[in-house]
Symmetry: C2
Subunit: 301 residues, 2 copies
């Protein structure tokens, strides 16, 4: 007869944004944050030398749909004190934070070239005049879409949302010239569903809001050459998961819908060839915040 | 010997925004406001039925460069009380105002079609649920450019700035879909001048800010077919005023520079075919405000 031996309890899943930050800070979490701490905002991260901060702030202000600015370092060099740019100046977007360690993985660029990919922290690279910027992420409205019975297909198929470079120019700002929107794409069926997803995502101002375009003719308007070949994420598939999306048998019914994407600001930094050390989260490895999706929609966060 | 007879004094030129508003209110001014009350903000006007107000507000928020929202009716139906959207919530953007009479001339649209052009007031058309929106105008930074020794050529030639429809899409918002940027164009010489006009206009966030594009190759990016044929304003000319701009002998030296334009929101309303009675100022016949250009740049207005 086998002896009963007490097993150590399985670690509790992270529930709050702080739970996820602490796991990342201690390198107990090094994977994607997709699906963690549901309903808590996940943010794109971009860290620039202070001389470029005002131009980047202006780039976000002039292009709020792809680059919704949520918050930034309270002062240059601050990695644990953040100022909110959300309505009501809610300051506790992340009350216990170390921006150098709280994303699971980071990328480092020097003079516009990627020099480290997926490193676990950036404590060695952080300099006294670095300014961290937090930018909204569409994970937020995906929860709302699922809750409304309109789950994005890539979530059902356990794939990463497809993202595309476009020819849609950003409004330039100072040193940030020559960049274009990056968009994410989700497929919906029929005009009524498109109207519903427009209505549901509209209120998410801080996380890209409603779509920027939709329909098969949007591909030409946006300058997307091949819907089956996204520049980031996984290729989109038909509903049965067996064929490329472009082979969808009823194009009138399957409608690609495009939203502004948080990869846009990273592209802008690279395209502008910003001098000095620039850092960002590794795609998919976001910084979790204390605010929830509901806070953003209601303007409370 | 001729008898000296006292002549009535010539009317003093309007100095403040209120001076201009009172002249327009009494129909003593029915012409363009260009050059009046120098340094005071001139605003584009757009008046919508309340059911479309939130979508229009969102259109402006998502497209702040062509549609910089300065203020709006304090409540639906209010034509003499305005709420500011400028930094610091400066409320006295126009302290004694009747938005139905204070622009020299108006246009009226019904169900998206122009039904009255250039009428002197809209007191008969104003309904209890109309909401007036004030949108920034590039007259502001033109003063700054002239003060810096870079006067726009059209002002030297006493012509109206050329404005063009583009293929650059607005981010849609609710009922406002399918519209594109309108841009204004000013010619400068050489890359250094372009950089200087970018730097000078950058701070004018509430009045379109820095350019959206520049250079001869910008025409193709923006979808402008013929630089000599603007859709509004006067055709641009060479520096000697004798030839169409496209015949400029040194294209490398003469550089067209494009800014977001306040005609954009009117185009958006027409393209969306908004139902009901929509009103606007007649182009060039702006509403003068109490704020000055300096207030906008400093964030004080």
């Amino acid at each position: 007869m086998a002896t009963l031996i007490a097993q150590p309890p399985a670690p509790a899943p992270p529930v709050t944004g702080l739970d996820v930050r602490l796991l990342a800070r201690t390198n107990a979490l090094t994977n994607t944050t997709s699906g963690l701490a549901p309903s808590h905002l996940q943010a794109n991260l971009l860290i620039l030398p202070a001389p470029h901060a005002s131009d980047f702030r202006l780039l976000c202000a002039r292009n709020p749909v792809p680059c919704p600015l949520i918050g930034e370092s309270a002062v240059p060099g601050a990695y644990s004190a953040l100022t909110s740019h959300l309505p009501n100046n809610y300051t506790a977007i992340a009350s216990d934070v170390d921006i150098r360690r709280d994303a699971p993985r980071y990328n480092v660029y020097v003079d516009g070239r990627l020099t480290k990919e997926g490193c676990l922290d950036i404590t060695a690279e952080w300099q006294h005049d670095h300014v961290a910027f937090l930018i909204g992420c569409s994970f937020s409205f995906e929860g709302a879409l699922s809750a409304a019975g309109l789950p994005p297909r890539h979530t059902l198929q356990n794939r990463i949302v497809p993202m595309y470079r476009t020819q849609l120019p950003l409004c330039p700002a100072g040193v940030f010239t020559g960049s274009t929107y990056v968009v994410s794409m989700r497929v919906y069926r029929g005009k009524e569903e498109v109207q519903r997803v427009r209505d549901i995502t509209r209120a998410y101002h801080a996380t890209h809001g409603e779509p920027v375009d939709w329909g098969w003719d949007a591909l030409a308007r946006l300058g997307i050459v091949d819907v089956d070949v996204p520049q980031w994420g996984d290729a989109p598939l038909t509903a049965d998961g067996r064929r490329p999306l472009s082979e969808a048998w009823a194009r009138e019914d399957e409608i690609p819908v495009f939203w502004g994407c948080g990869v846009t600001p990273q592209e802008a930094v690279v395209r502008a060839g910003i001098e000095g050390v620039v850092m960002a989260h590794a795609p998919g490895h976001m910084v979790l915040l204390d605010c929830t999706d509901a806070d953003v929609v209601s303007g409370g966060c």
